[in-house]
Symmetry: C2
Subunit: 284 residues, 2 copies
């Protein structure tokens, strides 16, 4: 059961800030859902945020709701980790623990009773929302995300054939088993056996994807994004190469855009392109 | 001379975060300017923010830049007060002092050597920007704002006939000499002689406005905005009544919108309407 923390009018629709008790994270979880002013079943975009973000960052800065209102779909903005699990070390660094659930189901102590964001965003959250909001059409849902959430969207799409109509990403961590952020998070949540990491790595998953649904995958990457150009955390080219070498029928439409950084100014600049990508697949 | 603190790509244009030394506030002042990707002279929207805001709030949350890029105008986001003037009491309350310059030129001690935001936003800032950025067309500029900035926009338009092509406001403090926020700020900055307050009060200024340029004035006001419905800080109806009783030829287009609050979710919902209002007058 979700409690409505606030109901905010925006773009002729309503933004609900919700909270519920998750059985998977064993914490209260916040989630924002935007409902356009439209009757009948609503197609859905599920937006997964990046490191450090709460549901509010993208809600305030992505501008997705403008297009959700214009084209008539709902948007779900989950949180990026449990908060307040009180695990030692979860608040020690900005890129691990709180705000950095990394969209996996942890198998290692002390994380595994709380840090289960994979099953949380792809299963529990959707099942619980479906019970309470019967105008949300979870049979007509697409997924996108930014950075850690871009990886989360790609992995979620590839691990659940048929669940999502389409997928796109802004500056995704495309090959997480092979970059410092992935090594830190996978190592802690999943342990040292790297074969377990590959089960969440889009650049690995695409090689054996067997779903019938093989849409084009839209990615934008800012060329002036330091996590891309300097730190090699993102590596979208690895994902493109792996896809091209695979049997996947869709294309990866990778746009490396001159001058853009990793911020919400980058995301908001290309959100319209991503919306136009998804609404084709959502039948809008 | 403005220092460029950062240059950020957005919507195919550039957002510059600038800082300069103001002779009127005797402090460093931050200002954000968005330049669309367009050659030639750029029409301008000057956006005045509300209580507590820095230039960044509206820059991140209003989505003016999306429309600035689409229609081809620049946007200037000034700060709302001097910061770091080190005047005793300036940080004691959220609605006075820092973040609350109230767009007046203070005449009272200890404020008058710093709190001169009226002349700062309508004169010095524009003159200085014109020197450094010769594609900004200060002969083709309109003004809008939110709350304290909505009042600032209305007062600035009415006190400077001919300077601005058009004016609009989101939830403006429409009759500041007659509400708690105005009484607190005018009282401190301008002293106890209320005739001085009227020189900044839109509901008073409209009565004697003599400019040739008398465009319609667009105002949106959320009906669920507590500062409107409960605290009577905003009172746009007073401005409408005064205008109707005056010789002003334009209409006040007041839209009191059901359900909306005072936040950036409200502003972003109606920014497109305000842009469409202004671009007519800016010749776009």
């Amino acid at each position: 059961m979700f409690k409505v923390q606030s109901e905010i009018y925006q773009f002729n629709g309503k933004l609900l800030k919700l909270q519920h008790e998750s059985k998977l994270t064993n914490t209260p979880m916040d989630v924002n859902v935007y409902f356009p002013n439209k009757t009948g079943k609503l197609p859905i975009l599920l937006y997964l945020s990046g490191l450090t973000c709460t549901p509010n960052n993208a809600t305030e800065k992505s501008f997705l709701q403008y297009f959700a209102s214009k084209y008539g779909f709902a948007v779900i903005f989950p949180d990026t980790s449990p908060r307040g699990a009180n695990i030692q070390g979860e608040d020690d660094s900005w890129d691990f623990g709180t705000g950095a659930g990394f969209y996996v189901d942890a198998t290692e102590e002390p994380w595994k009773n709380h840090y289960n964001m994979y099953s949380y965003v792809h299963k529990e959250l959707q099942q619980e929302l479906a019970k309470q909001f019967d105008n949300l059409d979870f049979d007509n849902i697409s997924i996108l995300g930014h950075s850690m959430g871009g990886y989360g969207a790609l992995a979620g799409f590839l691990k659940n054939p048929g669940q999502y109509k389409s997928v796109s990403a802004f500056a995704p961590i495309s090959n997480p088993s092979n970059c410092p952020w992935g090594e830190k998070n996978f190592g802690n949540y999943l342990g040292s056996d790297k074969s377990k990491w590959l089960e969440y790595d889009p650049t690995h998953l695409i090689k054996s994807y067997k779903g019938d649904n093989q849409p084009d995958i839209l990615i934008h990457q800012g060329k002036a994004d330091g996590f891309y150009a300097k730190d090699h955390q993102l590596q979208p080219e690895n994902f493109v190469e792996a896809t091209e070498a695979s049997d996947y029928k869709g294309k990866v439409l990778l746009n490396v855009v001159e001058g853009y950084d990793h911020s919400y100014f980058f995301i908001s600049s290309f959100v319209e392109d991503h919306v136009k990508h998804h609404i084709k697949y959502l039948g809008l």
